[in-house]
Symmetry: D2
Subunit: 309 residues, 4 copies
Amino acid sequence: MPGVPPAQYGYFGPAGTFTHQALRTLPAQHGEPVPFATVGQGLQAVRDGEVTAVLVPIENSVEGGVTATLDNLTYGDPLVITREVLLPVQFTLFGRPGTALRDVRQVLTHPHAAAQCRGWLAAHLPGATVTEGGSTAAAAAEVADPGSRFDAAICAQVAGELYRLAPLATGIADNPDAVTRFVLVSRPGPVAPPTGADKTTLVIFMREDHPGALLEILEQFASRGVNLCRIESRPTKRTLGDYCFSVDAEGHLDDARLAEALMGLHRVCADVVFLGSYPRADQQRPVIRVGTTNADYAAAASWFRRLHG
Amino acid sequence: MPGVPPAQYGYFGPAGTFTHQALRTLPAQHGEPVPFATVGQGLQAVRDGEVTAVLVPIENSVEGGVTATLDNLTYGDPLVITREVLLPVQFTLFGRPGTALRDVRQVLTHPHAAAQCRGWLAAHLPGATVTEGGSTAAAAAEVADPGSRFDAAICAQVAGELYRLAPLATGIADNPDAVTRFVLVSRPGPVAPPTGADKTTLVIFMREDHPGALLEILEQFASRGVNLCRIESRPTKRTLGDYCFSVDAEGHLDDARLAEALMGLHRVCADVVFLGSYPRADQQRPVIRVGTTNADYAAAASWFRRLHG
Amino acid sequence: MPGVPPAQYGYFGPAGTFTHQALRTLPAQHGEPVPFATVGQGLQAVRDGEVTAVLVPIENSVEGGVTATLDNLTYGDPLVITREVLLPVQFTLFGRPGTALRDVRQVLTHPHAAAQCRGWLAAHLPGATVTEGGSTAAAAAEVADPGSRFDAAICAQVAGELYRLAPLATGIADNPDAVTRFVLVSRPGPVAPPTGADKTTLVIFMREDHPGALLEILEQFASRGVNLCRIESRPTKRTLGDYCFSVDAEGHLDDARLAEALMGLHRVCADVVFLGSYPRADQQRPVIRVGTTNADYAAAASWFRRLHG
Amino acid sequence: MPGVPPAQYGYFGPAGTFTHQALRTLPAQHGEPVPFATVGQGLQAVRDGEVTAVLVPIENSVEGGVTATLDNLTYGDPLVITREVLLPVQFTLFGRPGTALRDVRQVLTHPHAAAQCRGWLAAHLPGATVTEGGSTAAAAAEVADPGSRFDAAICAQVAGELYRLAPLATGIADNPDAVTRFVLVSRPGPVAPPTGADKTTLVIFMREDHPGALLEILEQFASRGVNLCRIESRPTKRTLGDYCFSVDAEGHLDDARLAEALMGLHRVCADVVFLGSYPRADQQRPVIRVGTTNADYAAAASWFRRLHG
């Protein structure tokens, strides 16, 4: 499109992280993607216009929500999610070329990776010492140094390739089904049209922390036939016991049932932060309850107008 | 108003009934009001254009709903309620002029009146015989006949006056607080603007008689902060155990919360019959829940439009 | 059973009514059943020990609830339902023996019967005059009198047979599926064991007429997986707009889910009137929601006891 | 108490952490409390009988839930919470004795502490370099070393005192109201009696991840008048989008309303993990809804028993 500046993406780095690997599943972008040392720095770079969008982790099937991402999107200047990526978390043990599995004595990795591979390590490298460092990508970089005292790193495939290491064992996570969900975040702009399999992310602050407020919020969705695929409470940072709710609702801003639920929330809640309507990575279409299609909404509005006589 | 034909009203007669008495609380109409022998005949006369509107009973605080009225409005050609009247049901014992209470031996009245004055009759006229006839107004007419074998009638004030009888005892109902509610019914036309203390009458048919359908219907109101002041189940006349619900909801078609509830019902129900938005006779204004005013609805719609970027 | 006095039943008469006909579907009783002129007299006779039980109508699929029955059971001294009978309402036109259909000029019947056969009468006896009297059975008796000015009566099969009339046309109701439900009412005593297809009848008075009270009541049932097969509002007779709810719930006092719902109602309501657990006439077994069987309740109680350590 | 072995407590260490400081608010225990390097090691030591109980953080008003604690209690062998402690998170800047605030160039602390004091540091030590290390207590230890290159540590009061440092500035957190909640965890045993201001902690696994399951769970509490003071979703670690819910409910195992809610959850959920009933640190008594006291439950049970006749 002439006149439209090409997109440049950032990601939660350094190079070789799982986020970096997830970024590769997106269509080609202009220029090299920019790594950011923290989620906060990456999101700020989008706000400042340094990059068009940034890919950050938001949730892991084993560890749960990434609070740095959730809180920054909630409390920082407005940003929206435009896309999500699901990536199976597959850990590989990489060594310097020439190293055999049986020779590995010193392993370096990130604490999360160590925790998720504990069973495999106990079974296959019972004698090895595992040291926990700052990131799996940094561990790969360290191992790549011929002078390192570490023989191997547990890291993402992309990190091993980046540092030209040799895979010694793949798929070594104790839970082979672990998945991390990443979101591509941009400055607010026109919302892309619905695909039919969409999600909308919101943060909902209750008007007061009265008992039953969460029930009331859920009923705003339920009474319109909108299902939630994620709900997570987060502290409002004001006082212990005061929570807001980060939710992913099935559907798009252009779905009448979701529109009505959103307006309902706006009326009964202290605040509703809209964080984007975007296609689901799993392309799963919602089961639509009888009476909640856009056509049903249009028919009801048309009937209502006729009542006035 | 030039060009507008003056209204002529009908009522559930004959002359002298409580409905007749209720009619007198309405502003003056053109011409004599027309009595109809049955509720059904009165409502049909409105449909046929013979009268502008008809006043019929719909509910009594002791006897419950008037099924002839409820069912005719539900299943007949469209009509709407434009006004309601509440009338305390005060029974008076009327005799022919010159009759003393102690001389009353034979009392004539309608079975409902006899039932509602049973205690008073036992206490004050223990020796009298009570005969049940077709209406309290007809009883008054009969007693007015000098040749009648009846000494007194239990009837409405208006009937006693009409037949120039003498009141022997007033306020003789065992339940002094009994009230009957009447509705003025017209052909559908432009709905009068809200007064701030309005009611809307509906009949709701569930999509299928599934367990929980009534709960779902109530939630359509509750989730919008609309209270119900009456709910009555009526058979759909199809099969035993299949009901529709006649309800009075607080509010007017022009209240956004009621509008949304109505459209919600239209979407989830098999059918919704609109029977009018009209001022409450008791002028009681609703308690409006936080977030449900028209201004709240407008603010939410305006917020929503901005989300699209 | 030696020592147990044999049951004698009463019914809402006179002989030849539909209630009489319904009574014949019950097992043989001792002695002749006793007709009562009104529902109230029949129920009082049970309270006074004159009869063991009385059969009265409670609901009709076209006309709705029988308020005399509902209110007497609610406000009178305690009685319970021990059985229900469903009877298709089949109207027959009976004439004096020797009368042909084409000769019928004067028809006598009860107003409900006239209303329910209006279409048939218009089609088949357009020239006949229909007079409304006190009961279909009385109409049959009148027609049986050779000196009567009436040629035919619309009544129940049993009435025609009783008065030795000849059927001129059968199944003449406009709605061929109309059904009346009758209940057999006794003084309170041990509740018969569950059959697996039972109903429990209750009258529920809300603690105060607060908006949402009905929703709260329905949730007491719904949260335990108990479905309602009938719900009817009745005035409390105190003030207009104050209702109690007559309900039939699926299940028996011995079903743990119903027991918990009943106790829940007792706690949140002003009053709960228990009107019996008894077998369903249609023998339809409820769909039991996961987690609500007696075994589930027992397992939960056993788990809970272990928590205490 | 003779014969009862004295309690020895562990805590999430090392010495000088906020957990250590929170432990000091508990009554004196036998022997020195034992620090554990990780929450997991501390909880395992309780399971193994090495210590009687361990104090671990579970929630922070700014950072949210402590997932290591939540997940270990959920998925590990049974443990229960017997007590909670709330501790305001007050950060102090400690220096070696003799250091003046204006001389501070190098600050060492834990990343959470750095994040929570960012504003104060920018305002009062704009030229200082902040380095993030493993724990605030370790930072204090490092600064206490006369040969350290760090001039000051941000840490808890207890850590500064332990290492005989001098306070340079107190209350330096940007959010002065931050509070951390700690729980004392033991092996399951008899539950202590209610105090009237109690909490019960549960983890709830839904039977299947069906839409509306959370609503159903909340209704199990709401229908019994039990309020929740915390609800947090956690991944079940099986598949992305599959959550369990960690909740704190108002009340004690001996409160009939909570007992019924718990049994209700047991029936409708796949699993309910009981993590203890214990006194609230804030001693706040619940608002008890009409009809939900133990006396109300007893009255309902007694009424129900009489129904059987």
